[in-house]
Symmetry: C2
Subunit: 195 residues, 2 copies
């Protein structure tokens, strides 16, 4: 690489839930057909119109969006701010790494779940297609730095790169991180710092 | 300086309000005596037991702590997360720089205020005594970088240094920034990066 910087689009992950099929059936009823609100940037991923409510020891959180399709395990991603509101203490984890994470009560229109685990605060990461990763000499789970410009200028370190053929280049931050970095409709690109 | 790094304690500024005397009289009544909850790290500053409620177009925020003593102008500092909950869009500002900031309704036990301005999101900053600043060759309003270690490792750039004889060395972050950087009871120091 001759130039040291690559522009990367940033998306903000608000609180959301991924559901296993059995859990979806408990919350929404057997055979319920979920409605698509919009396609997400990553291939085959959807935000659905349906939401659930989370109930923790200290508070509740309404309108937690269901992102499909079904997954093997139910996973809930919230911010630290959200976790404090609920009164739970989820670990910082990569998506899918749920062992020993924390639980919460999930309320849907047709039923409730008392999850023992599944709630995490997602570690900041970049989705990257295999071709781009090859060009940048990066492999799956490498860590990189991303510089954000603007009034809340900062450099995110420890940004995990997730590489897959069908991924579309995009950095995912949670709402706390996005707010701390001043990410908004006008400022939603970072600069991948290549060494 | 021979070493390039200086350890700096970090304090988290939760939402709070500073009151002018006339505004305090409207909210709490003339002659009301505020009770001290605790002394703050900066000389002569107190967190009081009293709180107010903020009411915005989209939502309310309870338990916004009053920090004394009285100031010339009422100032409210909230996070971006808090601003969204209220439905207002405050600018990023240094403390005291309130012209053209946004307003909010403030509710106290004895009265209400419909503020036209005074709400800001505080720019991250370091309080530094004059002697330390001199040693580091820094002057008031200089900008520095601070590295935070841990699972949410990042480098805050554009950190404003505020220098005064009676300041005690401390970096102030709002709750979004602290959450994004993984600041908590176990991890509350940064490294001032000196060039």
């Amino acid at each position: 690489m001759t130039n040291k910087i690559m522009k990367i689009p940033i998306e903000i992950s608000a609180r959301h839930i991924h559901l296993s099929k059995p859990h979806a059936e408990v919350l929404f009823g057997v055979g319920y057909e979920f409605k698509v609100l919009k396609e997400l940037s990553q291939h085959g991923q959807f935000a659905h119109k349906e939401t659930v409510k989370l109930v923790g020891p200290k508070g509740e959180m309404e309108n937690v969006r269901y992102l499909g399709p079904f997954r093997g395990k139910t996973q809930i991603e919230i911010s630290e701010s959200g976790a404090r509101k609920l009164g739970i203490d989820p670990p910082f984890r990569r998506s899918g790494d749920l062992e020993g994470s924390v639980g919460v009560k999930v309320v849907g229109p047709k039923g409730e779940l008392d999850l023992k685990e599944g709630v995490i605060i997602a570690l900041r990461h970049i989705h990257m297609d295999t071709e781009t990763a090859k060009k940048l000499n990066l492999k799956n789970l490498d860590k990189v730095k991303v510089d954000i410009n603007g009034v809340r200028d900062l450099i995110f370190e420890n940004v995990i790169v997730r590489v897959r053929d069908d991924f579309k280049l995009s950095m995912h931050l949670d709402t706390d991180e996005a707010n701390a970095a001043g990410i908004n409709a006008e400022n939603h690109f970072g600069e991948l710092l290549l060494s």
